[in-house]
């Protein structure tokens, strides 16, 4: 019995050392690909609350319901705006392609009664007045950037890789981003965004995450614009994975009929 325990312990130790060596060899590109390919289920729905906090501490709240579905080569997402009252029934739909080609985006404004395509070049625009740009909210394909592993750090007691990413597009809104990626889950724990002058613009901190239905899920994040000292707290609830959302949830019909 004692011998069996010793052999098992030795095997576990060997496996641990081997796996540490394997992960230590990961490049910045490989780490960000693992982040990108983190399993997210075939589909997901949740309720999203954004709290916009200005430098005086005043809060404004936006609420949405969102649905997403991933097929072979495209991630489809649709958001329905619930509040404030003047944007209620507005919907936004985004198709993001795994081959890195430009997203397709549409918006439905109830006052205009029609769905219109919007330019995916507006990805540097801020989403609903928050500190998140449309690009921050999307799954940025790792091939759009050059990634460099610049270190490993402990953040809040968690072992992380530190990856610096620089866009291949010289006109991109950030000169670089630095991401702290948790080694155990390949979730980004923290990210810094640098403006085009190379100055720190924003920091994103994951404040709460959990495994739901077996998928790592970010439940609360805070984006802090350090230059203007305002922040946005984004929290999600009622998260459901793999409920069998149908393709017709991501159509003109769904956008116009709303929830």
């Amino acid at each position: 019995m004692k011998k069996t325990i010793l052999i098992t312990a030795a095997l576990v130790a060997m496996f641990t050392i081997a796996s540490q060596q394997a992960t230590a060899q990961l490049s910045g590109q490989q780490i960000m690909e693992k982040v990108y390919h983190n399993p997210t289920g075939d589909d997901m729905q949740s309720e999203l609350t954004m709290t916009l906090i200005n430098s005086r501490g005043e809060e404004r709240i936006r609420q949405l319901k969102q649905f997403s579905k991933t097929n072979d080569d495209v991630e489809k997402k649709i958001m329905f705006f619930l509040s404030p009252a003047d944007v209620r029934n507005t919907s936004f739909m985004n198709f993001s392609y795994t081959d890195g080609s430009d997203d397709d985006q549409w918006i439905y404004l109830p006052a205009l009664r029609r769905v219109r395509r919007i330019s995916s070049d507006g990805k540097s625009d801020y989403f609903m007045g928050s500190d998140f740009t449309y690009d921050d909210l999307g799954d940025r394909h790792p091939d759009e950037d050059t990634h460099k592993l610049i270190g490993e750090e402990q953040v809040n007691g968690r072992a992380t890789y530190v990856v610096e990413s620089t866009s291949k597009d010289p006109s991109y809104m950030y000169s670089k981003t630095i991401t702290w990626v948790m080694k155990d889950s390949f979730l980004g724990l923290k990210r810094e965004f640098y403006d085009r002058d190379g100055k720190l613009l924003k920091t994103l901190l994951i404040k709460s995450f959990d495994q739901i239905d077996g998928f790592w899920t970010i439940l609360e994040t805070e984006m802090h614009n350090v230059q203007r000292n305002h922040r946005t707290v984004m929290s999600i609830k009622n998260v459901q994975y793999n409920t069998g959302i149908r393709d017709n949830q991501f159509t003109e019909r769904a956008m116009t009929l709303g929830l």
Binding site: L52, V74, A85, D104, A111, R113, S119, D121, N248, R253
Partner: protein, 412 residues
């Protein structure tokens, strides 16, 4: 009349309040004050309007309804109570049926009506109101069938609703250049409400990964009447002594389509319609009633772009009368441009906007700068100006109507 409108308005509010207590009923809307001041002359008010707009909606299983009553109060006119929409929805697996008064919007042009011919327009304040207020609801049955990302739509409108024109004496009444005093004969204006006078529309639309496409067709009444003109000539002197104008709506057949597609960071939009049987005013003395029937093309090309946080779009619009003849009052080619620039500041609290129509044939324009500020979510104050340039043309004819205005709006 005024008393009955007030009672009806109170009933709507009471009904809305009691419905609101039910879980599956939603109540949204806004209260708005709108003041416009003409900047020329004595600084007269062009409008002083208070608005209550309610949207009551509900959904249960595969059914839904929407009722959108509105109340306009003016200082110089009767209280106006109307229904912008009031419809019932039935949802099935692959198709929906919507019955009742509804706004139906076609096309991809901004601020221009090319294939967008289903919902008639309320032109009592020209093109100045918000577009959901310019477009009126029509009573119709709309059947939508869905296949993948495509939609096939059939609309049957059993009764005709014409454009709502500015009242006699309104500053927004289009100028009529007539050589003699005119009287109006309204006997032929109404289209009798009967089955044979129905309007029919078909639409196909598809949202694709690289192209959004819409094809439409319609057999309908021209929302704007043809002005049949009779000249009264003194038999002895041979002088023109008067005119009789008889507005009459005519049937139109229209086919067209629109598209939008991403091109290198831009969105390129286009829209075109071919109208069969449109009436035009003519000075040709041989033309019966001073009207001539021509086919007509109306098309637009536009781009949308984002630059440094600005939303920008520009459109070039051309109208073309096929087989043009000398004497027709409208030019063979009528060219218009539009331009929009919009940007938000203070995290969508402050919006700066500039929209303009530019008439290229007459060198006239309508410039619409505005600034809005949201004090708190859903409470907005907007200030702006409407500047008409030129002396003639669609916009220049209103050059005396330059105005500044403010709108204060509470949305709930």
């Amino acid at each position: 009349m005024k008393k009955s409108i007030i009672i009806a308005g109170m009933l709507v509010i009471t009904l809305a309040n009691s419905l609101y207590a039910q879980d599956d009923i939603r109540l949204n809307g806004y209260v708005r004050h709108y003041t416009g001041i003409l900047t020329g002359g004595n600084m007269d008010y062009s409008i002083l309007q208070n608005t209550l707009n309610l949207e009551i909606s509900g959904r249960r299983n595969n059914t839904a309804f929407v009722v959108n009553p509105y109340l306009y109060h003016y200082f110089d006119k009767d209280l106006e109570l109307g229904l912008r929409e009031a419809y019932l929805d039935l949802y099935f697996d692959n198709f929906d049926l919507r019955i009742g008064r509804q706004q139906i919007i076609y096309g991809k042009a901004e601020g221009v009506f090319i294939t967008d011919v289903v919902s008639p327009k309320d032109m009592r304040e020209f093109l100045l109101p918000d577009f959901d207020e310019i477009r009126m609801g029509i009573t119709a049955a709309k059947l939508n069938y869905y296949h993948g990302s495509s939609t096939f739509e059939f609309v049957w409108a059993p009764v005709f609703t014409p454009t709502k024109e500015p009242e006699e004496g309104s500053i927004w009444r289009p100028a009529m250049d007539l050589p003699a005093p005119a009287t109006f004969d309204m006997s032929a204006k109404d289209v009798p409400a009967r089955l044979e006078n129905s309007e029919l529309f078909l639409r196909f639309s598809n949202l694709g990964s690289k192209l959004d496409l819409e094809l439409v067709g319609g057999y309908f009444w021209d929302d704007d009447p043809g002005m049949h003109l009779k000249r009264h000539i003194d038999t002895e002197s041979g002088q023109l002594t008067g005119l009789t104008l008889t507005p009459e709506h005519h049937r139109l057949l229209m086919g067209g389509g629109s598209f939008s597609m991403p091109v290198s960071g831009f969105v390129l939009r286009g829209e075109a319609a071919y109208y069969n049987g449109k009436r035009f005013q003519t000075a040709d003395p041989m033309a019966a009633d001073a009207l001539t029937e021509k086919n007509y093309l109306h098309y637009m090309l536009g781009i949308d772009y984002s630059l440094a946080g600005w939303t920008l779009n520009g459109q070039i619009i051309q109208e073309y009368i096929v087989d043009y003849e000398e004497g027709i009052r409208q030019d063979e080619f009528e060219n218009t441009m539009t331009f929009l620039a919009r940007k938000d500041y203070l995290r969508e609290r402050l919006w700066v906007s500039f929209f303009s129509y530019i008439g290229l044939n007459n060198g006239d324009a309508l410039l619409r700068p505005s600034v809005s500020y949201e004090f708190t979510d859903g409470f907005e104050i907007l200030g702006g100006a409407n500047i008409f340039l030129g002396d003639e043309g669609r916009f220049g004819q209103f050059s005396d109507n330059n105005m500044v205005y403010t709108k204060i709006k509470f949305s709930f």
